[in-house]
């Protein structure tokens, strides 16, 4: 068999076995350096820790043909361990890098959410007040200007109304202002809106203790909103329930309905739901959480998110 015929993991295994044998025969630093270099190369070429462990155990099996005296056994075991640790050290570096990157991602996520909250506030409250003042000023101007300008003024007023509407929508997209009341009151408001607008009765059960990060609140609110909108508009549900529970280490939110579920939905509705769900899925994934969507026992849809909480 030629070397070229070996796959990369096989090549690593061959070199690893050779270096291990050398180390067990004569424990020299050069063999440990080889273990580290093999580990580094394996990591770089995409091998995982489990593959390295497999390579290690194969190598052990290959070099263990010689009989070892009872007195030497502990020494041999320790040497094998040292060699294996050298090969794993580069993976430790990668593992720590991953942990750091994850922490940074979470922080960035929280920071963006905080930023969105401030911009939403600024658009909704500050710009909103300015526009309200502008309406008053316009009305004042209308009184003083000749009647011929009434049509132009009406156009201006209409444009101001459009700006107001846009700002409200953008602000709502960034962060629903109702969340400033807290998650539970916000969900109660949502429940009211859904039952009034679509006649869908919603039961709400919330068990929270302690503050939640803004990102978690927004995500829970959005998923409830998305799920209820679908239940009412597309799944022809007659009732729905929201259940939010905070435990020591996670937050679980499920929304169940008794609608017609997925399959009977028309394509456009599915697409709309798909896009909304996709965004929520991304948000949940960024927080290390999971999103599950499936039928529930009585045929409707069950949508659940689980988000780990820190501390």
């Amino acid at each position: 068999m030629t070397v070229a015929a070996l796959t990369f993991p096989q090549q690593v295994e061959e070199s690893y076995t050779k270096a291990l044998e050398q180390y067990l025969t004569e424990p020299h630093e050069s063999a440990l350096l080889r273990a580290y270099e093999l580990g580094r190369e394996a990591l770089d070429r995409g091998l995982g820790v489990v593959e390295m462990a497999t390579i290690h155990s194969h190598a052990i099996a290959a070099v263990q043909n010689r009989p070892v005296g009872e007195d030497k056994r502990a020494e041999l075991l320790e040497a094998q361990m040292s060699f294996f640790m050298e090969a794993l050290a580069p993976f430790e570096m990668a593992h720590r890098a991953f942990r750091d990157a994850n922490t940074a991602l979470r922080r960035l996520n929280d920071m963006l959410e905080g930023q969105a909250k401030r911009i939403a506030y600024s658009l909704h409250d500050e710009a909103g007040q300015l526009l309200a003042a502008m309406h008053l000023a316009l009305a004042e101007a209308a009184r003083l200007l000749p009647p011929e300008t009434a049509e132009q003024l009406a156009t201006v007023k209409d444009l101001v109304n459009q700006i107001e509407e846009r700002l409200r929508n953008i602000s709502h997209e960034l962060r629903p202002p109702v969340l400033n009341l807290g998650l539970f009151p916000a969900l109660e408001v949502l429940k009211e809106i859904v039952s009034k607008r679509w006649g869908l009765p919603v039961s709400l059960s919330v068990s929270l203790h302690g503050d939640l990060p803004a990102t978690v609140e927004t995500t829970v609110y959005r998923i409830a909103q998305e799920a209820l909108t679908n239940a009412a508009k597309h799944a022809r549900a007659t009732q729905a329930e929201i259940d939010v529970r905070q435990t020591a280490h996670k937050l679980v939110c499920s929304v169940r309905d008794d609608g017609i579920g997925f399959d009977a939905d028309d394509t456009a509705a599915r697409l709309r739901r798909g896009l909304g769900l996709l965004e929520i899925k991304e948000r949940v994934a960024a927080m290390d959480g999971v999103l599950r969507v499936g039928p529930n026992r009585n045929g409707g849809t069950n949508l659940t998110i689980e988000i780990p909480l820190e501390g």
């Binding site: 630093e29 440990l32 580094r40 361990m81 050298e86 570096m93 990668a94 890098a97 990157a101």
Partner: protein, 133 residues
Amino acid sequence: MLSEVRVQIHSPDDIVTVRQRCRKLAAQVGFSNSDLALIATAISEVTRNIVEYAERGEVIITPLQNGTRKGVKIVASDRGPGIADIRTVMRDGYSTGTGLGIGLPGTKRLMDRFEITSEVGKGTTVIMKKWVP
């Protein structure tokens, strides 16, 4: 009383020497086998850089004692071309392109203290410390 160890770096073979002497000293200081593997990795990464970019340099390993705490300090210096933008080399994936956190940023994560200074045309110095947990 343990004393410092100096190793001149001229060729890739010196990586073996520096690891060996560092391991011996760190073991005497009281590091466990798993910490010895991590320290050996850190010292290999910085020594590799000397061999690869500066051709020659020096690594000094010193035992540390602060009250009852014990540790090692590793200083790796060279008179090579230096690094113009340290922030770039300390970014994950810069040298390897894989973003796996090996190289200098990975080394930093294995040690308790890590400082790098460099001047273009004059050389680079890495100072790192690790304490026995």
